[in-house]
C-alpha cells in the first residue's frame, strides 16, 4: 500500500534519528472521585525508540490502561488531573488541545483496544469504520478509501475482504474483529501504536495469531508498539524492553532478556511465578500473589508492594524505594532488597515468608492464577 502524504501537523520531518520517538517524563494522572483522588499513574517516566516494542506489564488496577490513555491524552474531559510531559516525535502532546491532538490521533499515534466486542461500532459496516480515518487523515475520496480498506483487511489476514468490507462487527468472530481493529489502528501508518491488552478478550489459540500479526505488521511498517498486558508471557518474546507497573508506579524496567534473567523486584518475580508451566508436575500448586493491589486513594507508605511482599522489612514499610540501578544502567528497579539470582537480599527472609504478616492479603486460593482479569 502506497504511503500518502498525511494532512497532519509538521510530523513529516520528525523522527530522523534525533532522539527517541516517545518521551514520557514524570507523568501523573489522577481521577477525582467521591471517595477521594485516585492516583492511577503516579510519576512514570520512560522512552520508546522508533520501531521498538515496549511491554507494560501489571495486574488489574496497576494503572497500565490509564497510563496508555494518558500518554495519548485520551482521557475523560472532567475530574482528571494530569501533570508531567509526553513528547512524541519532538512535539509535546501534553501541551496540545484536543483539536491539535485529533490531527495526531489515528494518524501518527493510534490505539488498539482491549475488547474487540465493544470497541467497534455495532451499527456501522467495518469498511466504513476503516475508511473514515483514511478520509480524515489521508484526504482520500470515497472510492479510494474503500479500496484501501479492502487492502488493509487483506493485510490483516481477513479472507475475501471485498465481501467482508460490507459486513457489520456482529457478523465476525472475536479474532476477526481484533484483526479489524488492528486494520483501523494501522490504516494511516502511525509511528506508534498503543495496544491495550489486545488479546485479553480472545481465545488462547487466537491470541498468538493476533500478536504475530501485529509483530509482522510492525516490522513491515517500522512502527513502535507499546504492548500493555497483565500477562508477562505475552511480552516475553515480543518486547524489546519491559516495564513492570505496580500501584501506578514503575517498579522495574529492563530490556526483556535482562528482566527475565536477572529479576530484581520481588513483584516481577511473583508475576513470573504466577504463570502456570507445562513442566510443573500435575497438581502442583500455582504461586499466586496473595492479596490485592492497594487502594490508590490511600496508598501505603513505603514500598507499595510491601504489604504483599514475602520479603518485606520494616524499612520497606517506612520509606519508599527509589527507582535505581545497580551495575547495568538500563536496568531500573524500586526495591530496598533486590533479588540476586532469585534470592532476596533481605535479612531474616525465612521468618517472614508467607501471608501471615500481610494485612491486605486474602486467602491465596482466592487470588487469580494469572495476574488479573480484564481491567478497563
Amino acid at each position: 500500500m502506497a504511503r500518502r502524504t498525511k494532512k497532519t501537523l509538521e510530523f513529516k520531518d520528525v523522527g530522523t534519528g534525533s532522539g527517541p520517538l516517545l518521551v514520557v517524563d514524570d507523568l501523573h494522572t489522577a481521577f477525582r472521585t467521591g471517595r477521594g483522588t485516585v492516583r492511577a499513574v503516579d510519576g512514570v517516566s520512560f522512552e520508546v525508540e522508533e520501531g521498538k516494542t515496549l511491554g507494560i506489564v501489571g495486574e488489574s488496577g496497576s494503572g497500565k490502561t490509564v497510563l496508555s490513555r494518558s500518554i495519548m491524552g485520551l482521557l475523560p474531559p472532567r475530574d482528571v488531573v494530569r501533570s508531567g510531559t509526553v513528547h512524541f516525535g519532538g512535539h509535546e502532546l501534553t501541551a496540545m488541545d484536543e483539536s491539535q491532538l485529533r490531527e495526531v490521533w489515528g494518524a501518527e499515534l493510534s490505539m488498539i483496544f482491549q475488547d474487540p466486542m465493544t470497541a467497534l461500532n455495532p451499527v456501522k459496516r467495518i469498511g466504513v469504520q476503516i475508511a473514515e480515518s483514511l478520509a480524515l487523515h489521508m484526504g482520500m475520496d470515497k472510492k479510494e478509501s474503500r479500496s484501501t480498506a479492502v487492502e488493509l483487511l487483506r493485510s490483516v489476514g481477513i479472507p475475501s475482504p471485498e465481501e467482508r468490507v460490507r459486513w457489520y462487527p456482529f457478523q465476525l468472530s472475536g479474532g476477526m474483529r481484533q484483526r479489524v481493529m488492528i486494520a483501523i489502528a494501522l490504516a494511516c501508518a502511525p509511528r506508534l501504536v498503543l495496544a491495550d491488552e489486545p488479546t485479553t478478550g480472545l481465545d488462547v489459540t487466537v491470541q498468538a495469531q493476533i500478536l504475530d500479526l501485529l509483530a509482522d505488521l510492525q516490522r513491515e511498517r517500522h512502527m513502535a508498539v507499546i504492548l500493555v498486558t497483565h500477562d508477562l508471557g505475552v511480552v516475553a518474546t515480543r518486547a524489546d524492553d519491559i516495564i513492570v507497573m505496580y500501584a501506578g508506579k514503575i517498579v522495574e524496567r529492563a530490556p526483556t532478556r535482562t528482566l527475565f534473567n536477572d529479576t530484581k523486584m520481588p513483584y516481577t518475580r511473583a508475576l513470573m511465578d504466577s504463570i502456570p508451566r507445562l513442566s510443573d508436575p500435575s497438581g502442583a500448586r500455582l504461586d499466586a500473589i496473595a492479596g490485592r493491589p492497594p487502594d490508590l486513594v490511600n496508598p501505603p507508605t513505603g514500598c507499595r508492594f510491601a504489604p504483599r511482599c514475602q520479603y518485606a522489612q520494616d524499612k520497606c514499610r517506612q520509606s519508599e524505594p527509589p527507582l535505581r540501578t545497580v551495575g547495568s544502567p538500563d536496568h531500573l528497579f524500586a526495591c530496598w532488597y533486590p533479588l540476586v539470582d532469585g534470592v532476596s537480599t533481605a535479612p531474616a527472609v525465612a521468618v517472614t515468608v508467607g501471608p501471615t504478616n500481610n494485612p491486605t492479603a486474602g486467602s491465596p486460593s482466592a487470588a487469580a492464577p494469572s495476574t488479573g482479569e480484564n481491567d478497563g
Binding site: 485520551l74 490531527e103 490521533w105 489515528g106 465493544t118 461500532n121 451499527v123 473514515e132 480515518s133
Partner: protein, 314 residues
C-alpha cells in the same frame, strides 16, 4: 432483510384479522342496541324486530361479520344509523386532520428533541442540560388540554397570530390549512418532545461511555462527527420504539385537541359515535385506527432494520 420483513408482513395480516373480529365483537358486547338509537326508547317490540331484520341484525354473528367484512373489502363500511352519512366519507374527511396533526407535531418534536439531546448529553449535569431536563419534565406534566387553552389565550386571543379555531382542508387552501394547524399541533407536541428528548439524552449518555466512542475519538474524529455518525444511531433504539407507540396513541387520540380547536378529525368522530351508539361508525373507525396502528409498527420495524442491522439476524 426481505425475509424478515415478509415475516413481519404476515404477522401484520394476522393481527389485522384479529383486530377486525374484535372491532366487530366489541360493539356487540356493548349494552343497548341500534334499534333503540334509531327508533327511540319508546317504540314497540314488533317495530324493533322489523328494523332488526332490515339491518340484518337478526342473523347469526358470523354471518353479520362476513357481510360486514365483505363490504369493507369493497370500500363500503356502511352508513351511520343516525345521519346516514357513509362511514367511508367520515373517514375520508377526518383522517387527513389526524394525519396532519401527527405529521406536524412529530416533525416539531423530533427537530427540537434530537438536536437538544445531542448537545446536552455531551455535558450532562451542566447548566444547559439541567435547564432542558427540568423544563421537559415540566412539559411532560402538561397534557394537551392544559397547553391548548394557554396557546389559544396567548397566540390567538392575545397576539392574534393564529386563529383560535377552524379547519380548512389542505387541498382547498394550503396556506390557511397550515396556519390553522400550527396551534393544535404544538399543543400535542409538548409531551412528545419531553419523552423523545429524555429517552435520547439518557441513551446517548450511556452510549458515550462505550468503548467504541473512545475508539472513534482515538481515530481523531471531530466531536460533531462522533455524535452524529457514531453515537446517535446506536442510541436511537428506544427513541424509535417510543415514537412508534406514541404516534400510534395519537391516531384518534387527539380528540381533545380536535374538540378544542373545532377540527373534524376521526378522534372526535369516534367519541361522538360511541356516545350515540352509532355502531357501524364505531366499528369502521376502530378498525381503521387499529390497522393504522399496526402499519405504523410495521414501518417502525422497517426503520429498525436500517438503524440496527443486528435485528434482522437475531
Amino acid at each position: 432483510m426481505g425475509k424478515y420483513l415478509l415475516r413481519r408482513l404476515l404477522q401484520l395480516v394476522v393481527v389485522s384479522f384479529v383486530i377486525s373480529v374484535l372491532a366487530f365483537l366489541l360493539v356487540h358486547l356493548l349494552p343497548g342496541d341500534p334499534t333503540t338509537t334509531i327508533l327511540g326508547p319508546n317504540d314497540t317490540a314488533a317495530n324493533r324486530a322489523i328494523l332488526m331484520k332490515q339491518l340484518g341484525l337478526d342473523l347469526p354473528l358470523w354471518q353479520q361479520y362476513l357481510t360486514w367484512l365483505g363490504a369493507i373489502f369493497q370500500g363500503n363500511f356502511g352508513n351511520s344509523y343516525l345521519n346516514h352519512q357513509s362511514v367511508t366519507h367520515i373517514l375520508a374527511t377526518g383522517a387527513p386532520v389526524d394525519f396532519e396533526l401527527i405529521l406536524i407535531s412529530q416533525t416539531i418534536a423530533f427537530s427540537v428533541a434530537v438536536p437538544l439531546a445531542l448537545v446536552t448529553s455531551r455535558k450532562p449535569n451542566r447548566p444547559l442540560d439541567n435547564v432542558s431536563t427540568t423544563s421537559t419534565f415540566g412539559l411532560l406534566a402538561l397534557p394537551p388540554f392544559v397547553v391548548a387553552p394557554i396557546l389559544v389565550a396567548v397566540f390567538a386571543v392575545g397576539l392574534g397570530w393564529f386563529p383560535a379555531t377552524g379547519y380548512t382542508p389542505f387541498t382547498q387552501s394550503p396556506a390557511t390549512n397550515i396556519h390553522q394547524m400550527i396551534l393544535p399541533s404544538v399543543a400535542i407536541t409538548a409531551g412528545s418532545i419531553a419523552v423523545y428528548y429524555r429517552l435520547l439524552r439518557s441513551d446517548l449518555i450511556s452510549t458515550l461511555q462505550q468503548d467504541f466512542i473512545t475508539m472513534a475519538r482515538s481515530k481523531g474524529l471531530s466531536s460533531r462527527r462522533i455524535m452524529w455518525r457514531h453515537a446517535f444511531r446506536p442510541s436511537s433504539f428506544s427513541l424509535l420504539a417510543a415514537a412508534g407507540i406514541n404516534i400510534g396513541a395519537l391516531i384518534a387520540g387527539t380528540f381533545v385537541v380536535e374538540l378544542l380547536f373545532a377540527m373534524p378529525g376521526i378522534g372526535y368522530a369516534l367519541v361522538q359515535a360511541v356516545e350515540q351508539r352509532d355502531y357501524l361508525v364505531v366499528q369502521g373507525i376502530a378498525l381503521v385506527v387499529a390497522i393504522a396502528y399496526v402499519i405504523i409498527q410495521f414501518i417502525i420495524d422497517f426503520i429498525f432494520t436500517i438503524v440496527d442491522p443486528r435485528v434482522v439476524r437475531e
